[in-house]
């Protein structure tokens, strides 16, 4: 029996007068690969922000067996990695790709200590795994969207987290690069001992190792279960309030936009 490392009990987020998340209950076991799926404004990113400790909330959140609020200790933060949708950076910003990856190790190294050769070596290994090792000494701001996303993934893994939060990591990428990043995410989930929460609204571009879907609609949990039960025409049509059909080809399920 796998242990639950993340539990949410009736988590609610209110901002001004609008309700961003309402009474979310969720249990995530170790090594789960969970897709958080739903239309725009359903609360997907807010849910990720709550788990990542970027957003105030009411209700209970248990991480690694301990109650947590949005204020976290360094130790807890280190165990939750985060990859944003889009890494915003000025093209002239003074940071090289490898330096950006090494920032993932800074929290672990701690104050008043320098990052050195071991961190650099590990960063280069991860960049190699993400197929961006040849870009290590290039300024980060000059890399393409896909390359930046791979650097961002390497940075998050260097942190050695137990949970990895991915916020639409393939948005804004062209189809070939999306597929490449998806394969890399599958590779990460296979090699590293990781629990992954993956936010998306693109159900044709899902990592193949994603086994579970949590669907959000209008700030509440709409569905929680296996990915195959989730990706049915009926379910998706109701979720997105738009007629959708699914079909299978080569053992994979696809969604037709009708």
């Amino acid at each position: 029996m796998m242990q639950d490392i993340l539990t949410l009990n009736h988590v609610t987020v209110r901002k001004q007068k609008s309700l961003l998340l309402s009474g979310i209950d969720l249990c995530v076991a170790q090594n789960d690969f969970v897709g958080v799926i739903g239309p725009n404004g359903a609360g997907k990113t807010t849910l990720l922000n709550v788990i990542g400790g970027f957003e105030k909330f009411t209700g209970d959140l248990f991480l690694f067996g301990k109650t947590e609020t949005w204020r976290r200790s360094r130790r807890t933060r280190l165990r939750v990695g985060y990859v944003p949708q889009h890494l915003q950076i000025d093209p002239g910003f003074p940071i090289l790709a490898v330096e950006a990856v090494i920032t993932g190790a800074i929290g672990r190294v701690g104050l008043f200590r320098k990052t050195g050769k071991p961190e650099r070596k590990e960063a280069l290994r991860l960049m190699d795994m993400m197929r961006v090792a040849h870009l290590a000494d290039r300024p980060l701001g000059q890399l393409s969207g896909g390359e930046k996303q791979k650097v961002s993934l390497a940075r998050a893994i260097l942190q050695k987290p137990d949970i990895l939060l991915l916020d639409e990591p393939t948005a804004n990428l062209d189809i070939a690069v999306q597929k490449e990043v998806l394969n890399l995410i599958d590779e990460i989930s296979e090699r590293e001992d990781l629990t992954i929460l993956y936010v998306t609204h693109d159900f044709n571009m899902l990592p193949s190792r994603m086994g579970r879907a949590v669907m959000l609609k209008d700030s509440v949990k709409y569905f929680d279960g296996g990915i195959r039960e989730a990706l049915t025409g009926d379910m998706l049509s109701r979720l997105f309030e738009y007629p959708l059909e699914t079909f299978e080809r080569n053992g994979r399920r696809f969604v037709s936009y009708g």
Binding site: F54, R77, P84, I89, F93, L96, T103, I106, K114, P139
Partner: protein
């Protein structure tokens, strides 16, 4: 001309002015790295206006202008800090309101001030040639603290400058660094009221960093180039003001702008980016 400079350097007031130049250039330029890389020029300008308004109010109430300027800076920081953490309101509008409000206070103070207005005007333009020993001591301490902060927390600063949220998610004490920075901004701005003044300091809070931005991709070099150009602008500005008998604040800012223009024209960074644009590759397409 070299002889004239060497001769001038034997006078203690001139020695003090040169020292002030170095400290002022270094402190403002170090800060400008943050102002430029965190894209917070409006925070810089608000803080300098706050220091100016605080100092004028201090003169009205017979309080040390540095102290009252610093206090109003900290109050401004206390408003700005939480504000910039919120994503639901556009900070630019509120900064604009805060800025004009602070200017209003400053000019109101100037209007009420019955004593000689020369002192208040000095806070606006600054004067490198008439600094007191106390002004210098405060400036030296503030510059030292800022330099120590940058050296001790260099790797955390890199992470925070790169991306605040990623820094926080990676266990870097991001809020601590950010608030220390706002505090130091207040200290640097208010201690430089006497050197370049509350209006012109804004140029020194942006230009050295912007100059470095044209020249390097290395953060360490970035800090060094910025500091060097800030000090150079102040020292050269002082020399120009001494020889041509013009206000030192104005000549410092003009020299600083000249340095930026030179860096911009000869920027190797811009050249590489334009080269890349001419030759689009597959990877650049997906940007």
């Amino acid at each position: 001309m070299v002889e004239q400079i060497l001769e001038a350097l034997t006078y203690p007031p001139i020695q003090r002015a040169v020292l002030a130049c170095i400290l002022c250039g270094a402190s403002c330029a170090l800060l400008s790295v943050f102002v430029v890389l965190m894209r917070m020029p409006l925070i810089g300008v608000s803080m300098s206006h706050a220091a100016f308004a605080g100092a004028v109010v201090g003169m009205l109430l017979d309080v040390n202008p540095f102290l009252s300027g610093f206090i109003l800076c900290l109050l401004t920081a206390a408003v700005l800090g939480p504000l910039s953490d919120r994503t639901d309101i556009a900070p630019e509008n509120l900064l604009g309101i805060l800025l004009s409000f602070l200017m209003g206070i400053a000019f109101l103070g100037m209007g009420i001030l019955t004593k000689t207005k020369a002192g208040a005007l000095n806070l606006m333009w600054g004067s490198l040639l008439t600094l007191s020993g106390g002004d210098l001591a405060v400036l030296a301490i503030v510059t030292g603290i800022l330099a120590g902060f940058v050296i001790l927390f260099f790797k955390e600063i890199r992470a925070v400058l790169f991306n605040r949220r990623l820094a926080a998610s990676g266990g870097v004490p991001e809020r601590l660094i950010y608030y220390a920075l706002l505090f130091l901004t207040g200290a640097v701005v208010s201690s430089n009221l006497a050197t370049v003044g509350g209006l012109l300091i804004f140029a020194l809070l942006v230009q050295p960093g912007a100059t470095a931005m044209q020249l390097t991709y290395n953060l360490k070099s970035f800090f060094c180039i910025s500091t060097a150009s800030g000090i150079l602008a102040c020292v050269l500005g002082l020399v120009v003001s001494y020889f041509f008998d013009i206000p030192s604040g104005a000549s410092v800012i003009l020299v600083s702008t000249l340095l930026f223009t030179l860096a911009f024209v000869f920027s190797p960074k811009r050249r590489t980016t334009t080269l890349k644009k001419r030759k689009p590759s597959y990877e650049n397409e997906s940007r």
